[in-house]
Subunit: 291 residues, 3 copies
Amino acid sequence: CCRSPAWDRPSRPPPSPLQPPGRPLAPCRSFSNNKIQVELDESSGVAMMKFKSPPVNSLSLELLTEFSISLEKLENNRACRGVIITSAVPKIFSSGLDITEMCGKSMEHYTEFWRAVQEMWLRLYGSSMVTVAAINGSSPAGGCLVALSCDYRIMAENPKFSIGLNEAQLGIVAPFWFKDTFVNVVGHRIAERSLQMGSLHPAPEAHRLGLVDELVPEEKLMEKAAAVMAQWLALPDHARQLTKTMMRKAVLDRLVAHREEDIKNFITFISKESIQKSLRMYMEMLKKRKS
Amino acid sequence: CCRSPAWDRPSRPPPSPLQPPGRPLAPCRSFSNNKIQVELDESSGVAMMKFKSPPVNSLSLELLTEFSISLEKLENNRACRGVIITSAVPKIFSSGLDITEMCGKSMEHYTEFWRAVQEMWLRLYGSSMVTVAAINGSSPAGGCLVALSCDYRIMAENPKFSIGLNEAQLGIVAPFWFKDTFVNVVGHRIAERSLQMGSLHPAPEAHRLGLVDELVPEEKLMEKAAAVMAQWLALPDHARQLTKTMMRKAVLDRLVAHREEDIKNFITFISKESIQKSLRMYMEMLKKRKS
Amino acid sequence: CCRSPAWDRPSRPPPSPLQPPGRPLAPCRSFSNNKIQVELDESSGVAMMKFKSPPVNSLSLELLTEFSISLEKLENNRACRGVIITSAVPKIFSSGLDITEMCGKSMEHYTEFWRAVQEMWLRLYGSSMVTVAAINGSSPAGGCLVALSCDYRIMAENPKFSIGLNEAQLGIVAPFWFKDTFVNVVGHRIAERSLQMGSLHPAPEAHRLGLVDELVPEEKLMEKAAAVMAQWLALPDHARQLTKTMMRKAVLDRLVAHREEDIKNFITFISKESIQKSLRMYMEMLKKRKS
């Protein structure tokens, strides 16, 4: 059975960015890293990818790197045609970018971190596999970006779970490619208001706005995700992949063309004392909330 | 009465592509070709254009050529201000591009065929006349493109009739200008999902998605189309035409700028053995279904 | 109390177009010009801007100039973070561009007028303040543009009040940047139809189309506008401003890049005898309606 986890950390050299699929790796049924668990069901061609970085699945440098490597491994595995992304941590899908990576660190660290965020998005938004987000908890900021980058979003219909690009609430600005991804899903008007207000939308509102495609009772979430995936996989891969590329290429190309500039912007912004202060205050608040 | 069909095939040299209106032709009340019947009511300024190419109004090279010529004739006739496009064949609006034109033919034939598809769309999407689609049957693929290219879409509310750009179901990819036309109507998110899955939407769903503007009982379809046309024709032509051009120019210009490249892409794609095989299998299936 | 009007007409040289904020002017609690009354509540940071140019708040050269100057004054006043725009005239928000400015005047006048229209839009759509339209009456054409350029639109739910870019009804064409602003709010499909037909949408329909964000009973309009403004002002300014710029820059830049060309187009169009005739007839009709 493919459910038994195997600790199969990649020993190959790090993947070159956006290498096209082609040379299939040795088949791997399931593998796990420190932060993400991956199980591939070769009979259906569907991989289950679970964030398991408690307490809140922060997108740390380590998690992002594992995420990109896992996506690349699956992309290169011909047995895999689709990925369901979900969380192994209760009540949270992902809390978004790890603020500790953006606070009090060196320029080199900021550069490495931001490049990893870009890399993850380029791989996920540009994936030739069918990607379904099974959003089983709250999903602010970068967590929302992960969901927005999939082909289809199903969310547990718990109104306590919310989702949105709430960067503005923290006094920071979502980068242009977060914005482009958001606009492609909800349109300009909803994106403009939601981004300016840094809104976190409870599941029912997120559904009304089109931010998620479907709500289901929490206990039916994985079953539904599998059913939706089966529908998508009933289509021939090649035409679907070309169609997906056609729809997403303009937005992907925009980041590829401005990648270094985007890193510079991030570093300039994050290095400001006022921003560092906001982030420190935010972290303090999170610590107090916990205790 | 303008209802009596006259066989008035154009004897003029073939029209230069996208020639601007200006020199009005001799007035023609109604004319018919092999595949399309056109009746112009000079009192209202409205032409009725009916596909009559049984069994399913396939967009063959012949039909497409007649379509473009008919549009040009009406465009150049000052007595004509609007066109209602519908089908004379029960249960089908148009089944889309004729697959026999894309299967086992020469490069020259593919080139000629694809140029005719482009020409039809450039004339219809860029028409200065008011164009209303009265969709009285199913309308997959190229049939859907015809409807999407009109100013307004009314569909018979029969849930057995469906509409969509279902190319991906056949293993082929809708060209970028099909996609652009679709996105302009339903927005990016709905287009992305519908195109990837090659969805055929039953009339009620098509209405919910905004793919068609209105549903009416089948027996009221033509009456409603005439009423909608009258509303549009209540506006002064010139400002409406300039406004339409402003809305559609970017997407029209994109094909004009990449027309030869688009033909090459089509030929390369359609010439692949795997694609030819898919199309042959699809035609076999259609034949079996008939018998 | 900041409600007492002070006649504080600017004695400084006219503002250079789009000068960035920075040098705060001397604080002003409230000021009024001939056509617009402005009251700033320094405790909340919210200015109330009221069109008071009876009978219908036509956007004359004088009103437009006062509008731009008022916006600049508030933009440069650090005590001001948000503006509520509304009308002091019953039943009308603004009737749009003043037709008398476009009829029987010199080329120089047309140039000056059109530049003032552009200037107003560049300042309003690009404002770093939170802008809320409290639409307490009908709002055709240029009046609709003012509302569309705000961050949020609340309309009195009176079905007798209507809003829309109805230029096509008058035989004229909304400029491309009116269209871009409209598309950003309602999307391409709704904009295409509404602009071609020159539709004026009654308040409930405007709400359904997304043209306005909210309807409230007329007597609650100002209360609601203040509540919405307070929500927006709960956000830190800097991130919200950068986000707004990111969303609107492409459309603003397009006019900045084509400003002189746009003026020329306007003059060429408006100088046509056929257009002058339409406008004269329209003014005659308005006069007759009044008496």
